[in-house]
């Protein structure tokens, strides 16, 4: 069902944890669908480069693997590059996901965007992200 890459990222997830003084934190998902993803970003205000990224995930194997893969894909990249990351690209980087598991990869994309939105708020920069596009788990 899962590819070797999915299983690898599931078994040895990269960048698990929290960042104390994160520039942006995003949390998406809800308990109803059983997936919650939280992403921490450390962004260089000068260069707009994502210098560090960590995640925490409550979810299935695909949710954990896509979280892990997405952190690898954006670490060291610019905000613009991160904004262009799609769930399909994450799934492709894992050599694909079963169709019923594609929605788990959506969460990774959304957690990242939510963290960037948080950064937008905190930094005052306009990244073109819109508050209404997100449903915060806390407010549910």
């Amino acid at each position: 069902m899962y590819t070797d890459k999915v299983l690898d990222h599931f078994t040895n997830p990269r960048n698990v944890g929290e960042i104390e003084d994160a520039s942006g934190v995003g949390e998406v998902g809800n308990m109803k669908c059983g997936d919650i993803m939280k992403m921490y970003l450390k962004i260089n205000d000068e260069t707009n480069v994502i210098e560090d990224v960590t995640f925490k995930t409550f979810g299935c194997g695909a949710a954990i693997a896509t979280s892990s893969m997405s952190t690898e894909m954006i670490k060291g990249k610019s905000i613009d590059e991160a904004l262009n990351l799609t769930n399909r690209a994450i799934a492709d980087a894992l050599d694909g996901l079963p169709p019923v598991k594609m929605h788990c990869s959506v969460l990774a994309e959304e957690a990242l965007k939510a963290a960037l939105l948080d950064y937008q708020k905190k930094s005052g920069k306009n990244l073109g992200l819109n508050e209404d596009d997100f449903e915060d788990w806390d407010e549910e």
Binding site: Y2, L7, F10, T11, P13, V16, G17, E18, E27, M31, K32, C33, G34, D35, I36, M37, K38, F55, K56, T57, F58, G59, C60, G61, A62, A63, I64, V100
Partner: protein, 394 residues
Amino acid sequence: MRRVYLDHGATTPVRKEVIEAMMQVHSEVFGNPSSIHSFGRPARKLIEEAREKVAQAIGADPKEIIFTGSGTEADNIAIIGGARANQKKGKHLITTVVEHHAVLDAFKSLEKEGFEVTYLSVDGEGAVSVEEFQNALRDDTILVSVMHANNEVGTIQPVEEIGKICRERKILFHTDAVQTVGKVPVNVKEINCDFLALSGHKIYGPKGIGALYMRRGVRVQPLYHGGGQERKLRPGTENVANIVGLGVAIEHAVAEMPAESARLEKLRDRLIEGVLGSIEETRLNGPRTKRLPHNANISIEYIEGEALILSMDMKGMAVSSGSACTSGSLDPSHVLMAMGLTHTTAHGSLRMTLGHSTTDEDVDYVITELKPIVDKLRAMSPVWERFQKGLPIH
């Protein structure tokens, strides 16, 4: 790596005696049971012998046994066939919220045909109440279906009492005994049922074979049409080998039940105590005693079931979960939700079902290996983080 199979509730290995019997059929008795020549007659004889074994195992008459392609088919023929055949008497049906999908979905389809269905609720341990059942009865109730024991949490239902009340009021009573045959005594006379469904692959028999007990005199409307096989209720050339396999399997399952169920009960209790004792924020789902002897269902808070299954699998342990993620649907187990568990708790449920192969060493292995897995998953769980920080979770 040690391999520990703790998913006997999902399916069981096929026992040696069954494989041998089936092999012999495949290679020696290939005739069509409907053929009257000397290639066909032995096949017919094998079917009738297996029918006797199944009947004997559940206290029925061989004429009351119909072989089907699965437990699901047996459930469907009883419920849909029984309801349609009796709809002139009324359109009200009763079942429970914790039935297997083979039963629930059959009722759902009957609702679309204009039947009205009452779904009985369950208490925190998954048991239905006879009182609620009695209050649900109406003058136009024609069929009731309550499972003998639940496949997820192992709760044994008061089917004898419900059956007795149905019999008195001449209401058809079906029970899904797929999980109980070979685990606890199953007798159609004591249960007072009109229908009873069972399946081969849960009792060390082959997949793709089930049986329906249908009490003498009871009529149902067939769902499939064709040849006259199995009293026209399950037309199509008979799966002789699997029928023979079911016969051998059920004979053994019932014979070994007293000793084996006692053995499994002990192992199960040790497993439950070991897990609950070594991992914090865990709870047993279902009753402590009135449950299937081989079933342990434990919620491990703040982690998700599929991730748990996969992690355990990597350490050689095969288990299942009531998490949505294992089933391809989005909602967690309807059984755990009906018992009042929160989404989080239901998602982190772990079902371990013991069987023939289960040893003391297996139980020790699980108790030892489970904790580090849970620790690792919790370490990356944002929900666990919230719990530890004392933040609201739901």
